[in-house]
Each structure stands twice: as structure tokens, then as C-alpha cells.
Amino acid sequence: MRSRPTLCRRAALSAGAAALSLPFVRGARAADPIGYATWSAAVAQVKAHVAGFEKQTGLPVAYSNSPFAQYRETMIAKFTGGAPLDMLWVSDAWLPEFAMAGWLAPIDAYKQLTAYDAVTSDFCVQSTVFEGKQYGLTYYTDYMSFLYNADILAKAGIPAPPATWDEVVSQALTIKSKGLLDYPVVFGMTQESWMIEFISAMVYSTGGRFIDDAGNATMQDPKTGAVAALTWLADAVQTHKVLSPGCVATGELEVLKTASAGRAAFVLLPKYRLKVLNDPAQSQAAGHFKQSLMPAGNRGSHSTVGWMRFFGATPRGLSGGRAEGLVMLMEWFGGKADGEYVFQKTILKDLGLGFGITELYKDPEVRADLGAYGDVDLMARQQALARKKDTISPWFGEWNDAHGTAWQQAIVGKISVEAALRTSAETWTALKKAG
């Protein structure tokens, strides 16, 4: 007897599920494209440059992006899950963590890429190096700049911007005494946005360091540490009252908006914000904001802190037959494309982003662009004085949390400057010991 064909319920359900999902599954992609992940910034510019690369080389690129606030966690989950990634944007702060985990691969073997080191700002190159190996090419870079509202200074009868931190206080007091602003100095000291950069800029310019060459904490040292910078901030809030105690709850964007509204005489902001501040469409104080060299402390210089984001390669990207295409793509973005620094110029022109390639300061197009809202030579001078954050380490994030809280407490007077720096140093030492 012929048995009756039976329909297994499980098979039917599976087939149903597959049929239901079919319309939503994207079609098979072109053969194994180069996986390129970024955070959601400069999307249009990246897309256009990717398109140029694909046209030039015939190599397909799978470009994806996700919000910056969750980018690091997303990438970690994707690395752990074995996502097909070849090249990605990396923040200098994540380098030790990503390199130690084996998620990034060194590019030292590719002279086509490392040749750009010779024409790149030193702090940018150093920011891509971990344990003697280089992990990428600069995507963009910037530094913390000291900006002042020339109109407010003029109204207060101040002829020149401050060259030292003491002058910042005296000029701010003048502005305050003339009733022009309650708080002439506007700094953002929230943990979430740029606090370590603000602080590092002040520490470097007052002649201090957080750690010595051996990586041991020196921040608590009254002569070589961060005492002068933190004391200045605490005094500005508590004694001179030229900086609002609300600075510990003020983010970088609020600083920008306050400055745009013409309610700040002195701000610390990433240099690229100068473009927005001097744009009449975006700022009520347009045309009034100027850059000066970072004010110097008594034992300091005009140094500032620089940071950068870079194009990093994954071990997958530099493996076997994939390496050639990946190196071409990295150079296309981080070096020259068709003999020109196309991407660097595009993001400068469109977004006001800084570049690591120093020779671009001599480029007429670049000079015309930057010159429209700032002093190009001063920008180049300040960039040459920029240094990378000396605290970048595998425990940077953890230390930064404790350190930031201690500094905030000292700024508003809840603890002393010495206690805050002792906490910072002890946390650093403990984390370093724990590895």
C-alpha cells in the first residue's frame, strides 16, 4: 500500500517563516565587498568618496554607519560577533583597547601608507602608534583652541587678547565689572563631552603633565603636574567668579550655543567650531570670534592638546587577497586619491574639519577656505604646538570617569585641588597596576 505523503508540521512552519521573511531579506550582495564602518558623520562626503573609489578601482565597498554615542560599543559587539569589517573609523582613545584585543592590525608593512607619516603632524602619527606599531592613517584631526569675542573685548576697552591665564582672569574681571557679562569665561566641564581635552589643554599650557615617560602618575606634583591648571579653574569659579559653577554641567555644544548667542568672551572649543561661530547664519556673534594661541601658565607655553580619528584596518582586511584593496581604500581616504588630498579638502570645505597633512596649510584652496573665518598661519602654529593626550591607555576610560568626577568636585569647591589630584593619581596607579 502506498503511504500517504505527510506534511511535517515543523517543516511547514519553517517554510512559512522563510516565505514570510523572504521579501525583507536583501538580495545577495556583490562578491565580498570591503566592509567599511564609520559613525554617522560626514555621510554624504564619505558616500561620494566611496563612489569615486568604486568607479576608479572596480572594487565594491559595503559602507555602513551608526551613531557616535554608541559606536564603540557597537563595534565591540560586532567584532565579538565576527562581523565582516575591513576598515573602520577609530578614535585615538580606543587604540590600546582595540589593538590589545586584536581587532586592529598594524599597517607598518605597507610603505604606501606609512609614507604619509613624513608629511603629517607628529601628534597625529603618534596617536596611531601603540607599542611601537602603527595602526592607521589620520582621518581628521583637531586641537583645543582658545577663542575670544573681539567685540566684547573692544567694548571693555581691552586692546589685545590674553597671552597668559593670569591675563584671562584680569580681562574677564574687567568685562564683568563693566556689566557686559556675568561669566565672561565659558568652559564645558561635563564628563560626556571633551572634558579631558579641555583639561589636557590647560595642563599642557601651564607646563604640566599627567604622567611621566614611564607612565607613572605625576598629575599630583605641584611643579610638574596638573595643580596649576586645576587651581586656576577652581579660583575662576570660587574666587573670581568669572566662570560659572554650572560649567560642570555644561557640555561642549552648550558652550558653542552660548558663544553663538554672544554671551561668552573666552571659550575653549575645538578649532573647527570657529567656522560656525563666525557664520552669520548660525551665530549671532558672527565675525567677532577670533583665535589666539592658548594662554600660557607661569611655567608653561602655548601648548594645547590635539586629538585625531583614524582609519584603522582589521586583521580580516589585511589578510590574504583582501589587503591590496584595503590598502588602496585606506590611502584613498587617508592619503591621496588620484594624486590629490581630495577627502581632506572635502571635509575641510564642507565641514570645517582639520587635517593632519601639514603641507595642506600651504595649499591656496585650503588657505582661502580657512582664511574666510580665521587666521591660517596662527592655526598652523597652534597645530604645531599640539600634543597627544598622554593618558591614553587601556584603562583610560575607567580613569577618566574617576578623574573627571574629582576635578568637577574641586572646581565647585567640594574638595580641595590637592585631594582631587591625589584621587586622580591614586586611581591611575591602581589601574596601571591592575593592568
Binding site: P67, A77, T80
Partner: protein
Amino acid sequence: MIVPRPIAPRMLRLAALGLASLLLLAYVLGPVMWLLSSSLQTEREIVSIPPHWIPESPTLANFKAIFATGLGLARPSPAGTDPSSGGFIPSVAANLLPAMANSFIVAVTVTILNLLIGVPAAYAIGKIRFRGRGLTLYAILATRVIPDIALVVPLFLVVRKLGMLDSLASLIIAYLAITVPFSVFVLASFFEQMPDDLDRAARVDGCSRLRVLTHVYLPLARPALVAVGLFAFLASWNEFLLALMFTQTAASQTLPIVVAGITSDFTVSFSFLNAAGVLAVVPPVLLAVIFERYIVSGLTAGAVKG
């Protein structure tokens, strides 16, 4: 003799109640009103101190920009473009409408599948006596005890192995896993509260189980169906974490991811961001308004299971 209550304490009580209601309203509606108001302001006006709750020169430019870029009629602009006149368009703007469509497809599909899967399961648990009935319900609920963050990497691995990364299907399947247990729990409680006599009478009249469900219980379960449908829709519409992991490109990214991406850009237009926020809240608010009368009764029915 009836002694009239003194008027003063009554008035005082009413005034206090009114004031408390106003405060609550301001607390709840304040952020929404600011979202709406600032979406109609220029970038220059939005930074005014004190803030303008009523725009001085309201503009629809941000909304126009969203639709124009989404329809390919305009291109994202360089950062130097004038945002105060509404002309500034962030580079991810073109992805907003496709992301809205993706969110809508995912949310509607999840809602429909939720009801298709949840209703029979809940009916079986609520009305059919079988061994392990209670255990089944709690086993289904237990799947929701594990926080989503702990599931991200395992789910990512599954989705990748299935070749479903960057597809809407991955989101639909993941969201079903999140929403179906809740739907089954609410609906099962609702069915359980309904009299068994209805079931018996219909069965005596010759109805099959399916017919009893579709012709007797479902019409009565409308509030619960609306409540779980709305829950499934809102959960899918708002979900962020899994969408962040599973989607990569505009082909599958949903609205929360794209809106969050606007803040990652180098120039942030707050008025544009808020206009995108307004678009994101419109569908859930519309649904809540339409089905408002069913929501409370549906959720309460599930919550007061005896």
C-alpha cells in the same frame, strides 16, 4: 438636618487639584511642546535666551527639507549652508524617510505576526485545560527576564550565520521574540476571565475551536487585542539597541538609529533634529489617540488576573 459642607475647603481642594493637574500636564507635555515649537523655529531663534516657546517667525523649512531630500529633490548641504533659514540639511537627512518606511514596515509586520501568533497561543493557554498550562505561560514569560543587552551578541551571531544582517527580517524576528511573550500573557489573562459557558455553548452548537475563537472570543477581546497590538507596534517603532546592531545601511536602518545619527554629525542643527523627532512621534501618537478608549481597559484586563 443636612449641614452643607463649607465652601472654602472645597474650593481649596479643587484649586489644589487643578494646580497639581496643571503641574503634571506641564511636566508631561512640556518636552513635547518644546519639541514641536523648536521644530518650527530657525536655528538662530532656537538658541535665544530666554527660549521662545512660541516661534516668532515659524517656518516649515525643516520639514520641507526632510521630504525634499527623502524624495531626492534636494541634496544634503555643506555645513556652511544657512541653517537659520531652514536651508541646512544634515548628511543623514536623505535617510529619514526611508528609515521611517523601514520602521513602519517592521512595526506593522511585528504587530500583525504578534496577533497571529499570540491569539491562538493565548486562547489555548486561557481556555483549553491541559497539563503544564501554567508552566507554559510562565516559561514564555521567563524569556523576558533576560535583559536585551545580554542577548545582543548571541542574537548577532545567529543573525549573521543566517545571512540576515542588514535586513528588516532580522529585526522582525528579534522583535517578535521580545513582544510575543507579553502579548500571550495579556491575552491569556483576558481569555481566562471570559466565562467558559460561552465556549461550551458554542461547542454544543457545533463550532470548532477555531470558530469559537474567531466568532465568539475575538469580538469580545477587542480592547486586549488593541492593547497588545499597540504595545507590539510601539516596542518595534522605538527599539534602538538591536536595530543598532543588526542594521548597517539605509536599506534597513530604522528611525531611532537615523535620528540618533543626526547628533553624531559635525554640525548639529537642533531645529532639524527636533523636526525629525516630531516625525518620529507622529505615528505612535496618532495610534494612541485613535485607540485611546481600548488601551486602558485592555491593559487593565490583563493586569488584574485573579
